[in-house]
């Protein structure tokens, strides 16, 4: 068993997180570990593609686009001594996210529109990391306004970009270049890369406030 990150291991070729909780989205659970399926979670794909995050476990995280909590559940295993503010606007997936939040003490569920950070500005504290996976045309704008409200001076961001949701007609490579340029204007880009073969036409970008 190989440790890749805090509470993240490679066990017999499977990516797993150390967890004392049960299955949330149909993943396998075995003696204190939960399988982390890269086809379901872009963060898992990013880690398997070789990019690691240096997390101590007590970080404060703002998660935009929490959906039904697939990735949130694993992130909650990793920052087990921290807090995750999980923002999701759609009621249906939020129901499932609520189930997760009820059993995990480090998740605060927020049914808010991530494009209006002022609406939850009196709830969320300054965070170490903003994670964004919202597949919307103006997702960079949304990231920037949330960073302005909630990101610590040295804070970092991880953003998952789907080429098709930014511009469905343009060549993905071209879309990624323009997104990287846009983010590069406000942040210092630490790393980026494709999520193939787990997620087609997706890239991750890891950046720091500059």
């Amino acid at each position: 068993m190989k440790e890749l990150m805090r509470n993240v291991y490679l066990k017999d070729g499977l990516l797993v997180t150390k967890s004392r909780y049960g299955s949330h989205y149909g993943e396998k659970v075995f003696d204190g570990f939960r399988e982390w399926i890269p086809w379901r979670s872009k963060l898992a794909a990013m880690i398997l593609k070789g990019h690691r995050l240096r997390l101590k476990g007590d970080e404060k995280v703002l998660y935009l686009g929490a959906a039904s909590g697939t990735t949130v559940s694993h992130l909650a295993d990793i920052v087990d001594e921290g807090v995750i503010y999980a923002v999701e606007y759609a009621a249906k997936p939020f129901e499932k996210l609520l189930e997760l939040a009820r059993e995990r003490e480090n998740i605060i569920p927020l049914l808010f529109d991530a494009s209006k950070p002022w609406k939850y500005s009196g709830i969320v504290e300054k965070v170490d990391l903003i994670y964004q996976d919202i597949a919307q045309k103006n997702q960079i704008e949304i990231l920037e306004s949330n960073a302005e409200f909630f990101l610590k001076a040295e804070g970092e961001v991880i953003i998952m970009v789907k080429a098709r949701s930014i511009d469905s007609t343009a060549d993905p490579e071209f879309v990624f270049e323009s997104v990287l340029r846009e983010i590069g204007g406000k942040f210092e880009i630490l790393n980026h890369g494709s999520l193939m073969p787990y997620h087609k036409d997706h890239i991750f970008i890891h950046a720091r406030m500059s």
Partner: protein, 258 residues
């Protein structure tokens, strides 16, 4: 400057602690980033249980919000049922035109016509599946009693779950047969003999359709009564009550044997 925080308001010096955290949670709006650390300020007021109270409040508020949101799904079903009816009309109209064209000449255009009609039929199936899924969630008892199709049509005629739960059973029994119902009423007013309809949309239910004519009225009355109860359970409680379905099966068997 007054800051709106989830646990109260802050004027830069003192915190006025909210009497109801759920209310202040939803009012925690500020035009620009807070120039202070909300966790530190909150801990002065709430102590070590800051995160525990925050999480509890967030859970409570979002549970309520979700409940309200999901209740709005009835409007979605209403829109879907209307769309379904339009699609049926369009499909029929197109099929007629296609026959007209075919009668005159077999051409390439008839193929693309057939394609479009097939697409519409597929869309129809998709919408039906979606209606079924949502109906199971928002009206599980009605769906079990009458099937998603009939239940959704009743909901569409009523306009919303809120209105449907206020309908008496006698109204549910004749929804969809308004024309003949009012015709009968106006005849009665004039002192003439009149036939009041026994069933509207619920006639589509196999338990009514498959009975001999003389027994359909009894079954319709019974089914409508149970549907009226089912709608109320769905709207106010949301849990499935199996005894309702058992009772209509029993009544159906009785009427069939007699």
């Amino acid at each position: 400057m007054r800051y709106n925080l989830w646990f109260g308001t802050y004027d830069g010096k003192d915190v006025e602690v909210s009497e109801n955290f759920e209310d202040s949670f939803l009012r925690a709006e500020n035009p620009s980033p807070l120039p202070f650390n909300i966790f530190e300020l909150g801990s002065q007021v709430l102590g070590e249980s800051y995160y525990r109270i925050l999480r509890k409040t967030a859970l409570k508020v979002s549970e309520k919000q979700i409940e309200r949101e999901l209740k709005r799904e009835d409007r979605y079903v209403v829109a879907l049922v209307k769309a379904l009816e339009e699609i049926d009309e369009a499909t029929n109209m197109l099929s007629e035109k296609l026959e007209d064209i075919k009668a005159v000449k077999e051409s390439d255009i008839t193929e693309s016509f057939e394609d479009k009609i097939r697409n519409l039929k597929e869309l129809r199936k998709e919408i039906e599946r979606e209606i079924e899924e949502v109906m199971k969630k928002i009206a599980p008892n009605m769906t079990e009693l009458a099937g998603a199709k009939v239940a959704a049509k009743l909901l569409e005629r009523a306009g919303s779950m809120e209105k449907l739960v206020r309908f008496p059973a006698s109204k549910i029994q004749v929804i969809g047969a308004e024309k003949s119902l009012y015709k009968a009423f106006s005849r009665m007013k004039k002192g003439k003999k009149a036939k009041v309809p026994k069933h509207g949309i619920i006639f589509l239910h196999p338990f009514i359709r498959t009975l001999p004519k003389s027994k359909r009225g009894k079954m319709a009355r019974f089914l409508a009564a149970k549907l009226a109860i089912a709608a109320k359970i769905d709207y106010f409680r949301g849990e499935v009550d199996e005894s309702l379905y058992e009772s209509i099966v029993k009544r159906y068997e009785e009427l069939r044997r007699k």
